[in-house]
Symmetry: C3
Subunit: 133 residues, 3 copies
């Protein structure tokens, strides 16, 4: 199994960052032609998803929806005050998995991989594991 | 790694389609007896989930809930007008992964694999990757 | 591929159970040093997620949020009356996948693996599959 990682630096509390090229570079670096690629974050207030990369308004709509439905102040009990970020992270998930074919990440035409920051700004880490099959 | 795919034709805007038999056929076709099966869709306005396959009312309740909570018209900025479908897809995810044991998809007694259409009707593609382990 | 499983006994309708040590034991038992670990539940009214394990208030806030937003009685059509549990399960998912490195589950500093009961109390089963890579 190949393991790589890279950092993402966010500048807002909620921010969707297209990390497709970084993930693709890790897959290329792995030298693996067929298998599965796991994009994983070791964080609890952020997510990784696959969604549309063409029109940035799509990710704006997703983050606005989540901000509205999961209010920052909501009578939470966690003393750090960032429960909304943990809730969003539990809904969108901590990882995304995709096939690797012919040495490339197998994404649909409009798909991109996004790091979703819910408690920024922060420096975050993304781990890419590629398993041969 | 074995790779297969099949099409799903949907007839409504929101539609939950039980694809368990198609996924099981791909696993059988792979000839792999032990490993992991990734069900992946190359789309950004649809999802794949595992949930109850016995009573269709369960999937009706899931799709009704999502339709109520993620309204089709909601002051979104994405010009195509299908942001609700992108939001639902980000919440339910683009893939499902299961173990393969004794040459069969390892599902619980009441579990089935569903393709979730959020922006139909359309012709969609489902990719099945099986990795030996 | 190594396959292990263990039971979780829940005592409330909604209950978040930290299962990190059971999952770690299965990884150790597998004897696999590099690969991927799939934590899977064969149920349709429960989930597995990765989130903060340090402050239990985080999981309380996540379950309170879900209880508020997915009411137990909500005009559902599924006759068993537990549609809310199916809806929550579809949102949080039936599995979590993580890398295994140096024979250990590769989790972030604050991360833990949680079994999420949405229709307890029940005796549940958790399956751990570890694939070498």
């Amino acid at each position: 199994m190949f393991t790589g990682n890279f950092d993402v630096k966010t500048s807002d509390r909620t921010q969707m960052v297209n990390i497709t090229s970084e993930v693709s570079s890790a897959v290329e670096e792995s030298g693996i032609s067929e298998g599965m690629c796991l994009v994983y974050i070791p964080h609890t207030t952020a997510s990784v998803i696959v969604n549309e990369g063409w029109d940035p308004a799509v990710m704006d709509d997703i983050s606005s929806y989540l901000d509205q439905r999961v209010p920052w102040k909501g009578g939470y009990s966690h003393s750090e005050g960032n429960s909304a970020a943990h809730i969003k992270a539990s809904m969108l998930g901590h990882s995304a998995i995709m096939a690797v074919r012919n040495g490339e990440l197998s994404l649909g035409r409009w798909q991109a991989v996004f790091f979703c920051e819910f408690d920024g700004p922060r420096r975050r880490s993304v781990e890419v594991s590629v398993i041969e099959g």
